[in-house]
Symmetry: C4
Subunit: 232 residues, 4 copies
């Protein structure tokens, strides 16, 4: 995968690139990804089980309070999926086209997004049980690491196949690539660490998620800033 | 969070704003939000359990009739999520760009939208049990209040970070902000009231939802009315 | 609700109409509706229960065969929701704007779309039981009638609030309105008939669904045919 | 279904074609399809059952490991749905318009996409049981064949009703049609073969899925390559 040199003034569609199927704009790939994100984000609510109407009604308040681990699982999944969506939304302004291998890599990343609510529930619902904590932490941290690696894969395929907006400053995209590699590497560290000291692995993994809360660097363009999605 | 003064004739994209990542149009954020709304709106149907095919077939009609609380939960969730979607759809014509903190606040609001079908079921399915009513009402009113507060958060972040369409009359956006603050404050009142007199709290909360049925004020523009989404 | 007379050459956005909130193009309302349709269409798969891995593996083929009522429910729901989506897709080229009451009516129609998979399962899964057939038929036909009435409501609100593309020939929209009224009226007839002779009510209801298989009349424009969604 | 000869320089919208309802661009049909794909892709996660919090917490790691068949079912469904989405995404650049029968055929294809996660679970979760393997393989291969046939139906209806972009080289679309026919025919061979030698049928079916991993041929245009979705 060699990085292609783009002419910043060339049109986005480049059919002269053989072997990639139809090079398209990013709108529909973003739409599919937004759909998967939206569903993964919303589905966890079906896992919260309504207190039975057969039990004593006066206990309903207490029963709703006992659902705290379920609420925590919902919030944890929302946070991780939401923060990745924010990062994905941001990167949608960085890429300008899609091609075959880029959409394949995106599908792999989205499969990991669709899965992540399950480990979130494992961690949240089993955390109250001291004996279950180490296994729950292993599972969660490894899952987050796989998610981070599929993100790096998607990004790297997009960059190496020339889908980055050629009007961006070259340094800018390189800084992003370096950042994503560092984060993925630290996630791998967390996934190893969690087997030696699960609290430390979990903490490192949590810090790496918190990093996504920070706003990414503003894009810098060689030419004038383009308008993204008819902003009127 | 200071309100930025915009030149109404400036382009929507303002890359000179540092520390916000890529400022983008609202199309994809709206698409993600529409996805979450659509899923939250449609998912509750999976919670209605089909009468068993093992029981006497002649009883099917009666069994379907006994599902009234489930139907009520479906309708209640549809109403709340639908009305918030209408308000969100409306506000999509008010904002012109997105940025990092605005999408973060939107994610928080959407997590509350995704959750609201659960309290709707709690209220609808437990309401027939007199002993369960107060707790069900507490839970429902508090959930609606949290939803209302996340809406105000999203709106306020959008406004204070300069994402409002600068071509709108300044007074117009200020009136909307005031309205949303009043509604959120009244929701907080309802959430306190419901612990003293659950019927009153529930009634106030219901009135605040009914307010969403009223059409919002038509936007007023400084310059000529812009075309939103290529209306040809 | 009086029908407004539109100038066909006027722009789609008409902010001079007071009391309707922001008049917008149909893109985002269609997107929300497409989302609800897509979810309602796809969700029924979760209701098909996998044969248990605890039973004798040699019986798997037979167990999968016994799921025929579940498959029928899936196909029935897909057919009804799919055909309504086709009709909705078609009408998306007829409307040009949205407003407050039109989106409210659309939400009511979409709540009925989200619900329809449940009656489809009631009919398909209980049909094998002769004693359950009348009640299943009542439930299904009434549900389809309510769906048909919400469609008529949505259409009528859209037409009466001036959201129809003013470039269409006036006769064209009037013919569509008449057709939808006839179909809704016949659905009401089916919903009454099903209580006297369930087979006849079911048959009439089925014919009315089959009517949606027929292609609708091609739109006729006063001015030249507009391009819908940048078709390049 | 006779293939219509298109003037490559004609506009995409051709209202003079009677009996097809409103001919529209592909944007909204793609959006509905993307929605169904996204949901079908993401839903399988709800089928993975969380280990009970009532059992011994020290066993959690082992219980999570025993879910391997469930993980395999998730990955299998993601792979098939993901690869079909990639193919569908590609073909979205080939079609230029939609019409009544094309959307009907698309709905049939999407119903098959929505269903395919169920056979994936049948194969993955029952594969460990030697006695269940043949029936699981029959079910899976037949389901994939039906999916392949609905794809061919959708493609053929799109081509024969003149929805292909007329600016494409005629040979190009014909090569694609021939390829899809060969793949569908080989899927039918696999569906027959699987009843005589299930391992061979399964292997052939797997190879046909793997074929989707290969990038499709780059489109060739008579006129200059068009820009797809405003790529600015």
């Amino acid at each position: 995968m060699t990085e292609r040199i783009n002419d910043p003034n060339a049109p986005a569609r480049r059919d002269e690139i053989e072997g990639e199927g139809a090079i398209r704009g990013t709108a529909r790939m973003e739409a599919f990804a937004d759909g998967v994100f939206a569903i993964a984000f919303t589905l966890p609510i079906v896992e919260i089980v309504l207190p039975s109407t057969d039990s004593d009604g006066a206990l309903l308040g207490a029963e709703l309070g006992e659902l705290v681990p379920e609420y925590a699982g919902y919030i944890l999944a929302s946070t991780v999926i939401g923060l990745y969506w924010v990062q994905h939304h941001f990167s949608g302004a960085i890429f300008r086209t899609t091609g075959h291998w880029f959409v394949i890599a995106t599908v792999a990343f989205l499969a990991a997004i669709g899965f992540i609510a399950f480990p979130a529930r494992v961690l949240a619902e089993h955390f109250a049980d001291v004996a279950a904590r180490p296994a729950a932490a292993h599972y969660w941290v490894i899952s987050l690491t796989l998610l981070s690696l599929t993100w790096l894969l998607k990004w790297s395929v997009g960059v190496s196949h020339g889908h980055i907006d050629a009007r961006l400053e070259r340094d800018y995209a390189e800084r992003l690539t370096r950042n994503f590699r560092i984060v993925a590497a630290l996630n791998v560290v967390a996934a190893v660490l969690v087997f030696f000291h699960w609290q430390a692995g979990l903490a490192l993994s949590g810090l790496l998620m918190a990093w996504l809360l920070l706003p990414p660097e503003t894009p810098r363009y060689i030419t004038e800033a383009p308008v993204i999605e008819g902003e009127g």
